[in-house]
Amino acid sequence: MAAAQVIRSEWTKIRSVASTVWTLSLAVVVTIALGMLISALSRNEFDKLSARDRADFDPTFISFAGMSLGQLAMIVFGVLVVSNEYSTGMIRSSLAAVPQRGTFLFSKIAVAAGLALVVGMATSFATFFLGQAMLGGHRAHIGDEGVLRAVIGGGLYMTLIAMFSMGVAAMLRSPMLSLGILMPFFFLISNILGNVDATKKVGQFLPDQAGSKIMQVVTPFDDDTPYGPWGGLGIMALWVLAALAGGYALLKKRDA
């Protein structure tokens, strides 16, 4: 079984269903639109900020504000790519055609992650430039220190969040169950855990909390996060690896 054959097959699969197009378009549109809106609002608010808040003002990070919502579409994309196989019964055709389950799963994830990377990167650059345009005089420049890293990091973040979802969906199989856990977790629970003082120590190691550090250019004044931007992304990558390993282990031993 040549992996190249399976990758081609997975590409045909992913491009031939509507959910790919609408989830990814939604991710692009929501991230960019919300980023632009918040950037525009921030410009108007800037004059009212205290001196300390002005020192913490991070135009790059502000332009990525839409990602909190746009990542949910990425999660839906990641979940559906994998769980559609189960909810439709396609998995039986797929595994009969490719009985090497590792080859099957990782070819699928490689194709979906590759697509997410292209879309995520384009979204990240677009949302940065459009967001900066909205910020007017308070804007950051791509050549400023740490900015390019943050913008590329934004694309990687979107890719990793999709991959994490794929791993979770491979474990849980059901799209409803996977979304029912991932959506509230990343939209609410993780934010609460990461911002409430009592749980912050643990919360900051959650995949999205750690991973989004890469998009920060200005470190807040009272920041005591024990990892840097790449360290945070590394923590997120470990979560992704764990989810994928779990998905693979279960796929390997389960009946289809």
Binding site: Q5, V17, A18, T88, P99
Partner: protein
């Protein structure tokens, strides 16, 4: 060639497939017969490597399924449940399967033509009728031009024309020297298509025999007798050496050639008969009797079975 050896699948307490050993040979249609829930689909899923056997082994041309390079070119299968994404077109469904096994793209058009779905190939399968879905499943099975074909309840949901088409297709595939393994819960369906029969009940093997043999042994004739003077009639027949068995409901059954003698004996002894009718046991009945025995056997769980000899023996005793 598909070879099963001691194939067993246990779900918790329940043995879905129990120590199946048989081989499916090329050049003929082998029917895989059993009542609903007998373990046919589970067996087929294990053949395809989708379900893991609890014990035992199954090989395709001597190899385990996951050792086959481009398995769709060895064995094509139509499974009972739908196995495609409803939002994907029939063409793209077949294309992604073809690509994963290095099968050329033109083969997709060929099989769509064969099953008669060319006109709707670019439409989403969501709107397909059950019959169209069945044809798509068959197209997927034929895709790799495999030497072995496996169909799980292929006539389900097909109209009479579709049923005729699939019967003809299976026979022609076997005539080309391919191995054709087809499951059904209907004896009548098997009688029309299969050359060889593998019968299972409650997950265990009940028969592995040629169709001709099965018919010869099971389509025996017998005579149904009913009389208001049953005891008297039994005495008379017993004295004359005619073997009869009670079939329940006051019905007596005797061997096929005995109708005239019973009539004459009844007349001589002035016994009223309400019925004296020669009968032909249908294959369906033979099958029911065979599988009913398996249920009984299962309940008592005695010595290991000798399936090939065990079936049909009840018939010989009765006739």
């Amino acid at each position: 060639m598909i070879e099963l050896e001691g194939l067993t699948k246990r779900y918790g307490e329940k043995l879905a497939v129990n120590n199946l050993t048989f081989a499916v040979r090329p050049g003929i249609v082998t029917g895989f017969l059993g009542p609903n829930g007998a373990g046919k689909s589970t067996t087929m899923r294990m053949i395809l490597g989708l379900d893991r056997p609890t014990a035992g082994d199954v090989r395709i041309d001597g190899k385990h399924y996951d050792r086959l390079r481009d398995p769709l070119t060895y064995i094509g299968a139509l499974l009972e449940a739908k196995a495609w994404h409803p939002g994907r077109s029939a063409y793209n469904h077949l294309l992604c399967l073809a690509q994963s096994n290095g099968i050329p793209r033109r083969r997709v058009d060929e099989v769509l033509e064969t099953v008669g779905l060319s006109a709707v190939a670019r439409k989403k399968t969501k709107g397909f009728s059950m019959g169209m879905g069945q044809r798509l499943g068959i197209a997927a099975a034929l895709l790799g031009d495999p030497r072995i074909l496996m169909f799980d309840e292929p006539v389900n949901g097909l109209d009479p024309e579709g049923i005729h088409w699939i019967r003809t297709l299976m026979k022609s595939l076997a005539a080309q020297g391919r191995t054709v393994f087809v499951s059904s819960h209907l004896m009548s369906e098997m009688a029309l298509t299969a050359d060889h029969l593998v019968v299972i009940g409650q997950g265990r093997l009940l028969a592995d025999t040629s169709m001709a043999d099965f018919i010869a042994r099971n389509s025996r004739s017998y005579v149904r007798v009913r009389s208001p003077e049953r005891e008297k009639l039994l005495d008379v027949l017993h004295r004359a050496g005619v073997t009869v068995v009670e079939a329940g409901g006051g019905v007596l059954e005797a061997g096929g050639g005995e109708a005239e003698r019973i009539g004459e004996l009844a007349a001589e002894n002035r016994i009223v008969l309400h019925e004296l009718s020669p009968q032909q046991a249908s294959l369906e009945e033979a099958f029911m009797r065979l599988t009913a025995e398996s249920v009984e056997y299962h309940a008592h769980a005695e010595a290991p079975p000798a399936p090939q000899r065990q079936w049909g023996e009840g018939w010989k005793k009765g006739s």
